[in-house]
């Protein structure tokens, strides 16, 4: 297939948005390996990273199939440059302290879980199938991250302050998850992917409840950063890709 239909082009972009977000977050979480605050967290973080990388294989695998240009999930992950990545800005934020990592995870999980639930009703059975499988994993991610946000938000004075600082820093990156552009609209109209704005009521309610129990205050500012879904990223992503893609780029003729 030489040219993709408009819908396939939108679908490719939509799948990259999902797969790139799980890839970039999975990579960030994997940076913790061996450095977590307690051994149980080393195990849990590796588990979350592992799930996200597995989901990446499925989303980007399907994206490559839709594209039909002979690329596979690895080619998409390791051979595209920053401007071709479609992940949310939130997930490329650096790990910071454990509080930042945890808050980033919670804010993402609170979107990821209802999004996957909605995608289970996709008119494309391949998408519905991946969403169902990933949804079981993400239900656990959300349970864990929400529980830890509550425990550390309503923990010691220091843990409270650190969690509030993380929330203040990351909050302006949450709007992008629930803002639809033309690609999202086309996919929603075709019944293939849920519109991002349709997730908002559930996200709002969940985040409000968990943060209230965690005794954390939602920042008053309303400005939201955007651009990741369209390939306009922060400076952080390029450094991540330089590390992640280095072997594939340095030895392009090798198989691994």
């Amino acid at each position: 297939m030489d040219t993709m239909t408009d819908l396939d082009t939108a679908l490719f972009a939509g799948l990259c948005r999902l797969g790139d977000s799980t890839l970039v977050l999975g990579h960030r979480v994997s940076e913790w390996c061996g450095h977590a605050p307690v051994l149980e967290e080393d195990i849990a973080l590796a588990n979350v990273a592992l799930d996200l990388i597995g989901q990446t294989q499925m989303w980007l695998g399907l994206a490559a199939e839709i594209e039909g240009k002979g690329r596979d999930a690895d080619a998409l992950a390791f051979r595209r440059d920053v401007w071709e990545f479609r992940n949310l800005l939130l997930v490329e934020r650096p790990n910071g302290d454990f509080g930042h990592t945890l808050m980033r995870q919670f804010l993402f999980d609170a979107w990821h879980q209802p999004m996957l639930k909605a995608l289970e009703s996709s008119g494309d059975p391949r998408i519905a199938g991946i969403a169902a499988k990933a949804g079981r994993e993400v239900a656990y991610h959300l349970e864990r991250s929400a529980d830890l946000v509550i425990r550390l938000g309503d923990g010691s004075l220091e843990s409270h302050n650190r969690m509030q600082a993380a929330l203040d820093t990351l909050w302006p990156y949450t709007g992008e998850m629930m803002t639809a552009d033309a690609t999202d609209q086309a996919l929603a109209e075709a019944g293939i992917m849920a519109a991002p704005d349709s997730i908002r009521p559930e996200w709002d309610a969940l985040v409000r409840d968990v943060l209230a129990e965690a005794t954390l205050g939602i920042p008053p500012g309303t400005h939201m950063h955007k651009g990741g879904k369209q390939g306009q990223h922060s400076e952080h992503l390029g450094h991540m890709l330089a590390t992640m893609q280095w072997l594939q780029r340095a030895y392009p003729d090798a198989t691994w």
Binding site: S30, H35, P37, F78, L152, A254, W256
Partner: protein, 325 residues
Amino acid sequence: MYAQMVKSEATNDDPEKLAAFQARIDAGEKIEPKDWMPEGYRKTLVRQIGQHAHSEIVGQLPEGNWITRAPTLERKAILLAKVQDEAGHGLYLYCAAETLGVSRDDLTEALLSGKMKYSSIFNYPTLTWADMGAVGWLVDGAAIMNQVPLQRTSFGPYARAMVRICKEESFHQRQGYDIMMKMAFGTPAQKAMAQDALNRFWYPSLMMFGPSDKDSVHSAQSMAWRIKMNTNDELRQKFVDQTVPQAEYLGLTIPDPAVVWNAEKGGYDYSEPDWTEFFEVIKGNGPCNAERIAARQKAWDDGAWVRDGLMAHARKRAGAQVAAE
């Protein structure tokens, strides 16, 4: 071997009790945490299991060094799963040590202060992707040599932890060898990386079994107690005999011209590693000792507020529950 040079503790217990204890061990019975045991047995086990646990934890670092640079999504997932398994092994082993009356925090502090050791092998750097293969093939291979017999060790919780650990370790070793095959049969650059990894990891892997039996003063008591099941030299020979044909299959050269088949003994001859280097690494002078401990110390220090916060929350909840009752 993840526990090296574990010093057996002397025991000053009642000779009758000691004899009855030894009879249980000789009969192949398992000793359980609540059973009477000589103080030396308990202390030696704490040291051995603790050292083994620390090796799993520190062992996350040289492989964690490559998780963010793994060349494919599948390789990244496999490596993550492997390092996660190692953290899990650390957890079972700390739990086994806890049954002997020592807490995980106590053991962690002993590791960070340098009072307790971890395997010398993890003080060597992982420099190329081929090292992920070599670590799985050689390091996990050597660990398995030691751990398979330990499934029959006399202390119940340790033996049972070892059963689970061995299953996962043999999977890791296969994954490591699979990486080595891809590298050794790949491009000239990949093959060169594979040979380089073997060159660097060969002698440090042989050192994992500890010094030669003739210099290993602590073995006899541990063997009588069935805490140690084979001598260092027996295991090292077995490892060499297993590994040399695997290297041949890969088309790689063992970096020791003395490796030749000895029909008379039914095994390969090989050169001893440089034991001076080994003792320097044990003393803290290996290429990565300082970085490894610094990384663990930083994780511990940076994590203090998380651990304190979780405890503070647990206290609040317990308080709220009491107030509600």
